[in-house]
């Protein structure tokens, strides 16, 4: 082989390898800057998207629990500080209300052939978000304890109460139930779940007027009160970390708990193999004769910022499409319940998927839901403590919400 040949081959190989580097995603140049919440599923998407970095393409990410407070100011700048913000049902609102993200229809047509229909979050005709995973609170239960108490896994909240009573009566556990009942956001979320399970509507149709002060609201609160009787007396301080600890330590047998925590609950940390091995999941229970699981469905997805250059927008879309691919989903099957086509769900995904298939509702995306959620979190506490009745708590909630909604210009 001559020197010329060698040189040619080497140069060819070099050319090929750099060609491969950018051809992996097909981005010529651009900067991808992601702002997102901080949990494993989102890390997986961003890590995968980082494969697109290379010649003229940079991929950086700021993954923090404080993402929501950063998003609006950071995306309002021109050019925006981040080219994409990962949002959930609840955090999409501020971006839409301030017109900070761009419709993705054209990008999907050109670069997003693998994006399935159910991943597209459409506002009118515009696709504004590509959702990639789903989350919901659903049933976690201890198979062994239920067997010992001689009961089937509960299908309704009435069954849950009966199961709790049986477990307590047989002295298997002092506090068989647990739940994320911490005063504030968590407690309000439990009410939202229960109220939707009862078939309730939060607002009068087409307006921001609250409509929770009714029989369904009272029934939802009464059910929460009955459940709390079987919980550790500290339940009003319990957030997800506490509930996970309760399950892992074997202090509680049944919880309606976040699907995204499944991996952490059953892994080999923080618990014994006996306990972790017998924790099973199922769809969220129904309640009050309702037909849909009493839970709310949540999704996470990526957006593309409006105030950025066309090249950056294109690079961002392509890189994140690469990040949220079936290959990534199947490499991390337990990190989340992926909505991506071609993903093979693991055993922990049943809870979310069954809840979804049985018709559980998504968390309401109306712009004033956050205000009602906050009001609930503060005002139903007195009822849970037994200091006022359910109707008063709901009337108080409506009053607190109305004052805030007036200030925000919704009423």
């Amino acid at each position: 082989m001559t020197i010329a040949w060698k040189t040619a081959i080497t140069l060819g190989a070099l050319g090929l390898s750099t060609g491969v580097a950018s051809a992996a995603c097909g981005i010529e140049s651009g900067s991808v800057r992601v702002l997102s919440n901080d949990f494993p599923a989102l890390h997986d998407v961003v890590e995968k998207a980082k494969e697109c970095a290379g010649d003229g393409v940079t991929v950086t990410a700021n993954q923090t629990a404080e993402h929501e407070s950063l998003a609006v100011p950071a995306l309002s700048a021109n050019p925006a500080e981040y080219t994409s913000h990962f949002v959930a049902n609840s955090s999409l609102q501020p971006l839409l209300s301030n017109d900070l993200i761009r419709p993705l229809n054209d990008y999907i047509e050109t670069y997003g052939k693998n994006i399935s229909e159910r991943q597209k979050i459409k506002i009118g005709d515009d696709v504004m978000v590509i959702a990639f995973d789903a989350n919901a609170q659903h049933l976690f239960f201890r198979e062994d304890i239920l067997k010992e108490a001689g009961i089937e896994p509960p299908k309704t909240y009435e069954d849950v109460l009966a199961a709790a009573k049986a477990i307590k009566d047989k002295s298997l556990m002092a506090y068989p139930l647990t739940g994320t009942y911490k005063a504030g956001w968590n407690l309000a979320e439990e009410f939202v779940n229960m109220y939707l399970g009862m078939g309730g509507e939060f607002f009068e149709p087409g307006s921001a007027k609250p409509a929770i002060d009714n029989e369904k609201g009272v029934a939802a609160l009464e059910m929460m009160k009955s459940l709390s009787a079987y919980m550790n007396p500290d339940y009003l301080t319990f957030d997800s970390n506490s509930v996970q600890a309760e399950l892992e330590s074997g202090s509680a047998a049944i919880a309606n708990f976040w699907g995204s925590r499944y991996g952490a609950v059953v892994d080999d940390e923080g618990s014994t193999p006996e306990i972790a091995g017998s924790i099973k999941v199922a769809a969220a229970p129904t309640v009050g004769g309702g037909t849909i699981p009493a839970t709310t469905l949540w999704w996470d997805g990526y957006t593309v910022a409006k105030n950025i250059s066309e090249a950056d927008a294109k690079a961002t879309f392509i890189a994140l499409d690469h990040g949220a691919s079936a290959e990534m989903a199947n490499a991390n099957p337990d990190a989340a319940v992926w909505l991506i086509d071609g993903y093979e769900p693991g055993p922990g995904a049943i809870g979310v998927l069954d809840s979804m298939n049985q018709g559980a509702k998504p968390y309401p995306m109306v712009p004033y839901m956050g205000l009602l959620h906050t009001a609930l979190g503060a005002e139903i506490v007195d009822f849970m403590k037994g200091e006022e009745d359910a109707a008063k708590a709901l009337a108080d909630t409506e009053a607190a919400y109305s004052a805030a909604a007036r200030e925000k210009g919704f009423l």
């Binding site: 209300s97 301030n98 789903a134 504030g184 906050t374 607190a400 004052a403 200030e407």
Partner: protein, 342 residues
């Protein structure tokens, strides 16, 4: 000092105070008088992984147009101050008219967010401040009597509660008083009641927060008083001893009068600090049983996804007024002392 010199001397600090204290206060007061524009709402079809539904949206362009015209929002006067989430005049009027007795009326008022927070804030200030001053003084006296070899280490250990960041300190204690934690389990064993929990009932939560507050702030009072004790005049003390004064009498008639400016100083700082109690409520997850004015401000800004600036500003202004009312007696006293001396 001639007025001219005084003016140049004070100018930098006056400027800094104007920029960093006066202007923000003015801005908060102005903000509290405004609320956001009426949102232009439109109904659109939303679709996602869980199906389609008709939902209401904010018309971003139309709302932005309104905001461009009047960036501050709509003028609302004092209506934010009087609404249910603050002073709640209407609700109090209704409760006064409808409540059968005074206890019912009080219960009704304490279920309103602002008054609930105010009651805890005032109770916290009223309990923690005197305890901190008295305990701090006693510890300072005790440490002052120690042999000098021991003083260093004892002072260091006594200061630890203040060195720990309040949020971390309260989290550590929160876990320790858990029914599985070392303090919580001990209390359960002592009381022989496995269901006893310091987190579950309002009175116990309040007491826990008070104890935390005293634990955290006492080192500050101690350090100030200890420094003051080093300046107590020896000759006065010796003459008191020659006159036959007991230890108690020496403390009462020599040390205390000498330290009285420091007592006022620590009292002032503690009143202000305790009135804006915040971190322990977050650290102890105590929102269910205790909220404070600062916590409401935090909740308005961070609780609802999009911040309620008007609400938060109104509560801030009310907090400011509260602090001024609390400090008035102390300030009047200081002014009298000043004019008497002058």
């Amino acid at each position: 000092m001639p007025h001219r010199t005084f003016f140049w001397f004070i100018l930098p600090s006056a400027l800094a105070m104007l920029v960093f204290i006066a202007l923000p206060i003015v801005s908060i007061v102005v903000q509290s008088l405004y609320v956001e524009h009426d949102r232009v709402l439109v109904e659109v079809e939303n679709c996602g992984p869980f199906g389609c539904s008709k939902e209401v949206r904010v018309d971003a362009a139309a709302t932005a147009e309104l905001q461009r015209e009047e960036p501050l929002g709509r003028f609302n006067g004092l209506a934010t101050y009087t609404n249910r989430n603050h002073l709640a005049f209407d609700e109090i009027g209704a409760a006064w008219a409808n409540a059968p007795d005074i206890a019912e009326f009080a219960g009704e008022i304490l279920s309103l967010p602002f008054y609930r927070a105010l009651s805890f804030t005032l109770a916290y200030t009223a309990v923690v401040t005197p305890f901190v001053i008295v305990l701090g003084f006693l510890i300072a006296l005790a440490v002052n009597m120690l042999p000098s070899l021991l003083k260093g280490p004892v002072i260091f250990v006594s200061l630890l509660p203040m060195i720990i960041t309040p949020l971390i300190g309260s989290l550590v204690l929160f876990w320790m008083i858990d029914s599985n934690g070392v303090i919580g389990a001990t209390i359960q064993a002592l009381a022989n009641d496995p269901a006893l929990s310091l987190k579950a009932s309002a009175p116990l939560t309040w007491i826990t927060l008070f104890v935390y507050g005293i634990w955290h702030s006492t080192p500050f009072a101690f350090v100030v008083f200890y420094a003051g004790l080093q300046t107590v005049p020896k000759d006065t003390m010796e003459s008191a001893m020659i006159d036959g004064a007991s230890t108690f009498e020496r403390v009462r008639f020599v040390t205390l009068p000498h330290l009285s400016p420091l007592l006022v100083f620590v009292g002032l700082i503690q009143l202000m600090d305790n009135f804006r109690v915040f971190e322990p409520i977050v650290g102890f997850n105590a929102e269910a049983n205790a909220t404070s004015l600062s916590w409401i401000i935090f909740n308005d800004l961070r609780g609802a996804g999009t911040p309620l600036f008007g609400s938060a500003a109104a509560t801030s202004t009310l907090t400011l007024i509260g602090v001024s009312i609390l400090l008035t007696p102390v300030l009047i006293r200081t002014w009298r002392d000043f004019t008497r001396k002058g």
